[in-house]
């Protein structure tokens, strides 16, 4: 039995206060800071009129930097290691768009379902996503529908909110979501039959909004596989400047690096640190010999595109791209993953 409620927008803050107080949740929501929509701990007022945040909520389960353990060795003694686990705080993230909810599903495949990454899992189990359906016209760079998503998808979310003007329709997606709604008390009223009807209509209209598209996405993995040696990659990457925007802003890019950061020398002291890494950087695949198997931007662009649309599909049976469009809108030189995939696929007989 699904749980559907109605929330007056004016009472959104009451629900958030109840979560913070009764449910011990640290609530985060999008805030406009320095012209950039960013998830921030909630202050007095929550705005949810954001198109999408500049960065996806991926950092809640996979932060850009995290310490795995600290180490110390006094000369002549055995080294001492101390594991550093994430705090156990529960975090509720409001305003997550459906593309980013689906991004979280893909991150889980990598770090929770496929391997046992205790750091990721410790954070993930304490994060809940309160999604917000996209029922305004999509951005020019949105393409969730052609990669299996939807502007009203609930994948990866715990609760889905739908904006009905002066009210939100609130649906629980998971047990966690139900529990979060249960602590709300009076702000969440039962949804009347008319509300249920209205939300269906709104979702239907949202799904009917035209978007740009990856053509024939089912055929894309095989077509990319056949295009590995295509000279097209060089042409498509010609303008690429090799920065890390596309991957650092991606809801599903998950490559990382491990480094020991020294904090002292006598005794030797430091931290083992995981940071995001980036397949678009020249040093990503650099060997210590000086050989670099992906030595140019063409090889690196191909890697990113094929990871999203071929390798991940081969490994997990789903496309890794969720169509959020960040890499498209933020690329300094206009490299457009939709155009790239379509062009490469088109050139396969």
């Amino acid at each position: 039995m699904s749980m559907e409620k109605i929330l007056d927008k004016a009472r959104l803050n009451d629900w958030i206060a109840a979560l913070a107080k009764g449910g011990d949740w640290e609530v985060h929501a999008p805030a406009l800071e320095d012209g950039v929509w960013t998830y921030k701990p909630v202050g007095d007022a929550v705005r949810m009129d954001h198109p999408n945040t500049k960065q996806p909520p991926k950092g809640f389960s996979f932060p850009q930097r995290e310490v795995f353990f600290s180490f110390e060795q006094i000369k002549g003694e055995a080294p001492r290691l101390t594991q550093v686990m994430p705090d156990a705080k529960r975090r509720a993230v409001f305003g997550v768009r459906p593309c980013d909810g689906r991004g979280s599903v893909r991150m889980d495949r990598v770090f929770a379902d496929n391997v046992n990454d205790p750091y990721y899992q410790a954070r993930r189990k304490n994060v809940a996503y309160v999604g917000l359906a996209c029922n305004t016209p999509p951005a020019a760079t949105c393409f969730c529908k052609s990669v299996g998503g939807s502007p009203v998808s609930t994948d990866g979310l715990d609760v889905l909110l739908t904006d009905l003007g002066d009210r939100y329709h609130v649906t629980a997606v998971t047990e966690t979501g139900k529990a979060m709604m249960a602590v709300a008390g009076s702000p969440l009223a039962d949804a009347a039959a008319a509300d249920r009807k209205r939300v269906k209509q709104v979702h239907h209209e949202a799904e009917a909004q035209p978007q740009r598209a990856v053509n024939n996405p089912d055929a894309v993995p095989a077509k990319l596989k056949a295009s590995f040696n295509s000279p097209l990659w060089e042409e498509l990457a010609r303008a690429c400047i090799g920065c890390g925007i596309c991957t650092f802003l991606c809801p599903t890019c998950h490559c990382f690096d491990l480094n020991d950061e020294m904090t002292g020398t006598v005794p030797i002291k430091g931290n083992r640190v995981r940071t995001w890494d980036n397949c678009q950087f020249p040093d990503f695949t650099m060997h210590s010999s000086g050989h670099n198997p992906r030595e140019n931007t063409a090889a690196r662009l191909r890697q990113r595109v094929c990871h999203k649309f071929q390798y991940f599909h081969e490994n997990f049976g789903m496309l890794q791209c969720t169509g959020c469009g960040r890499c498209v809108s933020e690329c300094p030189v206009g490299i457009d993953i939709v155009a790239v995939v379509n062009k490469v696929a088109e050139h396969v007989a």
């Binding site: 800071e33 320095d34 012209g35 950039v36 500049k54 960065q55 850009q64 930097r65 951005a139 020019a140 760079t141 010609r238 303008a239 400047i241 090799g242 920065c243 890390g244 925007i245 650092f248 802003l249 690096d257 480094n259 950061e261 640190v273 940071t275 995001w276 980036n278 950087f281 020249p282 040093d283 650099m286 210590s288 010999s289 000086g290 498209v328 809108s329 933020e330 300094p332 030189v333 206009g334 490299i335 457009d336 939709v338 155009a339």
Partner: protein, 343 residues
Amino acid sequence: MINIQDIRDTARDLLAKGEVRAVIGWRAGSRGMAVEPVVITAPEQADELVWDPTCYHNLALHLVEDRKFLAHARKTAGAPIGIIAKGCDARAIVVLMQENYFKREDVYIIGVSCEGSGVIAEWKVARQLDGAVPTAAAFAGDEFAFATAAGEKRLPAREVMADRCLECRNPFPKEHNVALGEDKTGRALDAPFAALARFETRSEGERWEFWQRQFERCIRCFACRSVCPMCYCEECVVDSINIAVAPETTAEEKANRIRWIERSAVKSENITYHMTRAIHLAGRCVDCGECERVCPVNIPLRLLNNKMEREARERFGYEPGASIGGPSLVASFRDDDPGAFIR
């Protein structure tokens, strides 16, 4: 007023006669109004070229990439490479030549004047259009014209031009083989260094607080470095490992490489990165403003580089990008230098 046909004809002609092996320019993009950089190699591709207020990329960067490509492939250039260059692009090319990155005869500069106008800042346009999505942008005298689903919208240059263009004194590419458009040098809507001057009305404490917050926000995507034509080093101080290793580089040399800056995108490391970059650009930055444009988290990086540029101008009368043959800021001195140690 520049006619796009003149740009296309020039490029086509140069390619057809074999006077250049390629032309770096702009073509229509696939994701909305913004154009994208392109390298064309055949005369018939000349019709792809465009010129509009989203031609903000400093194409000198692609000259650097061409040079690197040739060097790595151990190829010689043959005919020069053509490039369409705005005032700031041309100044960047001058600095690169001054530093012997390539020779004057290796580059054919098709100068395009910004004619007192300039390129737009997309965030300013978005703010003005209030939700309407522009699909194309055009120059329209003192205004810019935007095509939207609700028809054409005109916005005054003052409201939507990039800050760098508002303050630009040299919209005409003085260094060129051929130049299109009028030389309206000197027309600036804002005083030079206006944004910096506004910023400097804050107290030292406020400025320090401001920069701490900005550097805390940096995600170290390195777009500012990647987009900068002056950041051409094969190996950068921030790279996590040696890029420029050779088979003869010993294991000790690799292991003992000093990590000046850790990989972690945290304030201390980010500050070191940005300060290092600012110092390396002193006397070299031509204020194309690309670092600030591409920053995904809107860090106003121009303020740092402008500060260095103004210091160079006020203390040493030095202007980057003015002369290929002239001395560089850091490799020259004057008899009347204010510092006693130099004499």
